[in-house]
């Protein structure tokens, strides 16, 4: 029961201050809000300073290539209330610009460096070295879903030969039985 009350209070307060927040409840100690990306710094600041969500657990980014958007997720933890709050926001994939939040949590700086490198999201006012995990990288941001790592690796790195004699099980049986698989069915091979 306690948890329910806490959740209701949080929802009420957030809705009061941030009209664009859409909540989603879970059965366990988790509460989600989806907001516009402009709201993110203020809602994070509010949650941290006013509502006790002192601990920034995680910042993540998901590439929804088909929808043309990046989803950013901020996961906060309240040591007092023992509840997680997820802040979801969507960033346009063609012009990925986000507000920098490393003045709220210093460690967000690292996450932003990584996201900038891996997804190509620009954080306005981010001060950090250009490179983080990659060195002399000249391809597209690698975590974007349209980057094909397998093809890149096959092209760039030499692979040890000696395995060309491998056969496909299905094709071996097909050949033996004389079965002819129509073209449109081939995509359903394993």
């Amino acid at each position: 029961m306690m948890m329910e009350e806490i959740k209701t209070t949080i929802i009420d307060r957030i809705k009061l201050h941030f009209s664009d927040a859409v909540e989603k409840e879970f059965s366990y100690n988790r509460l989600d809000f989806s907001v516009k990306k402009e709201t993110v710094p203020s809602i994070l600041f509010y949650l941290k300073e006013e509502m006790g969500f002192k601990h920034l657990s995680h910042i993540s980014c998901v590439d929804w290539l088909e929808e043309g958007e990046f989803e950013m997720i901020f996961i906060l933890w309240s040591p007092e209330e023992k509840i997680k709050v997820f802040i979801h926001t969507r960033v346009d994939r063609s012009n990925p610009v986000m507000d920098n939040i490393d003045m709220i949590w210093r460690q967000a700086n690292t996450y932003e460096r990584e996201m900038k490198e891996m997804y190509g999201i620009q954080f306005t006012g981010l001060e950090a070295p250009e490179e983080f995990l990659l060195e002399d990288w000249n391809g597209p941001p690698p975590m974007r879903r349209d980057f094909d790592t397998e093809a890149y690796a096959a092209k760039t790195y030499w692979e040890r030969p000696g395995r060309e004699d491998a056969l496909d099980v299905r094709e071996t049986v097909e050949k033996r039985t004389g079965e002819v698989l129509p073209e449109f069915a081939k995509k359903y091979k394993r």
Partner: protein, 597 residues
Amino acid sequence: MSFDLKGTLKPLTALKQFGQKPHTLTNVPFIPREAADRYRGLHYNNLDECIGCGNCSTICQNQAIDMIPVDGIEGKNGDSGLRPRVDHGRCCWCGLCVDVCPTGSLSLTKDYVYVSEDANSFLWTPGVDNPEGDERVSFFSTKETSLNDLGRIPMPELEGMERIKSFAEVVLGYNEEQARAEASRCISCGLCTEACPEHMHIPEYINAIAGGNDEDAVRIIYDNNPLPEMCGKVCTRRCEDICAIAHRGDPIAIRWLKRYATETVENADLLKEIINPEIKEPNGFKVGIIGAGPSGLTAAYYLALKGFDCTIYEANSKAGGMTMYGIPRYRFPEDSLDKQIEYIQKIGVRIHFNTKVGKDISFGEIYHNYDAVFMGVGFPKPWTLGIEGEELHGSIQAVNFLYEINNGKKVDIGNKVIVIGGGNVAIDAARVSARLGADVTILYRRRVQDMPADWEEIEGAEAEGIHIISQAIPIQFHGDEKGHITTVEYLKAEMVPDEHGGRPKPIAIEGSNTVIEVTAVLGAIGQQGDYSFLEEEFDEKVKIERGRIVVNEKQETTLNKLFAGGDSANRIADAISAIADGYRAVKGIEELLMKGK
């Protein structure tokens, strides 16, 4: 800062360890240390148990496993003939390959040391490179730890005792959720396609169903089988016998999935729309087809797609042949084929019903009027037992019995019926009799596990209260003065191993005579062909051996431009081989007629 005397002296207590037995394993590396009982070391593969399904290769996230041909291992039905080879330049010894192996042949051993200066020497064929690895196996999978989905999604069915009240279809069919779940069990190895006489594209349509693309599944099925609803209901499903999952669990319900896919399409128009077949321009050739059974319909459908003008002559009022008239309605309802027949007619095939060749039209007329003839006439005539009393009133042939019942006629069998035989016809006859209210017993010469009938059918029969007396050889029927059958006398048999390595033979035990009372006996020990419609001029030219028409690999008979298929031309005598015959004949006819075009 003050001097910390305690802190300075305390570390010196380490000296008390002097003289203690050291922990060091001094034998290593000169004598390898035995790993734990569950250690995940180098692979071992039991080459005889392995079926080359390639599931290990599929699960491997490192693409470490290749399937390669191995000396001394030939591919056969249910075995691709390939064996896994592990690239130790990729492997991470996670053991997922072991946990997904459907036969349990692949395992990991306690051996872990392999050191070499040659980077190309790290390709490892388990079982070939360590034939003695059997004794070192440490990490293996069992039925309990297997990652395969071993349990089949149960098919919704009528209750056993509910069934015999009517001829309502027993199997209710999967709903969407069940079908997706069942299809998801498939590991897509494709070994089943070899067992299928028609070589249907089984893994592909199952994957389509699992992925929620039922229309694609229907399209893939129709690629080489125009009667999937028939197969979906009554196929003998050799594919399921060799299913990789069946080595440890229940095979994938391939037949029910096909049935599910076809049932998602409501009518013939929709069917045509989904399949959207490419029909070639008419090429001017006419093909006559005798018999609208599975082989005839298949031949007609694919010939029509290729632009041939096809006409079918069928003696009965409905298409489907033996499946329609020999299989009881609770397995194969009367309307099962309507949609498919309508669809076949829609693409241009003409079917003349109630036209018996030899009576309503002569064979010669057909043969001379068409550019090619396909004959799928089946086995309409039952074998007789050849024992005393078989002519008595109440001794009925099961095939005739089923035919009459399926035509809506009444057959008086009384309340105590004996069925003789162990095939599907016998079980069908028994279950039909049970539905007519009789107390039914099946007599079979061999053991229950030797019955050629479908195990599901046998189980179904038992659930419906049918007794099976195995190892029983009938020797005589006794009748009353009115010529009506009253009792059946049979001998008990014992199974004697065959010295030629064949299946064990039943040998009657002298003096074990048993007599049971009956009101009717249904004989179901097999059928044979009836070629009386062939006029004399053809009779000699069409070669018939042991009751079967002799055909070559293109289904061509010894008579020019006559093709044959189905029960009357193959030894397997089931619907799917008939369909395969029809499909092959299409190629034969096309080659014959389109030569040079």
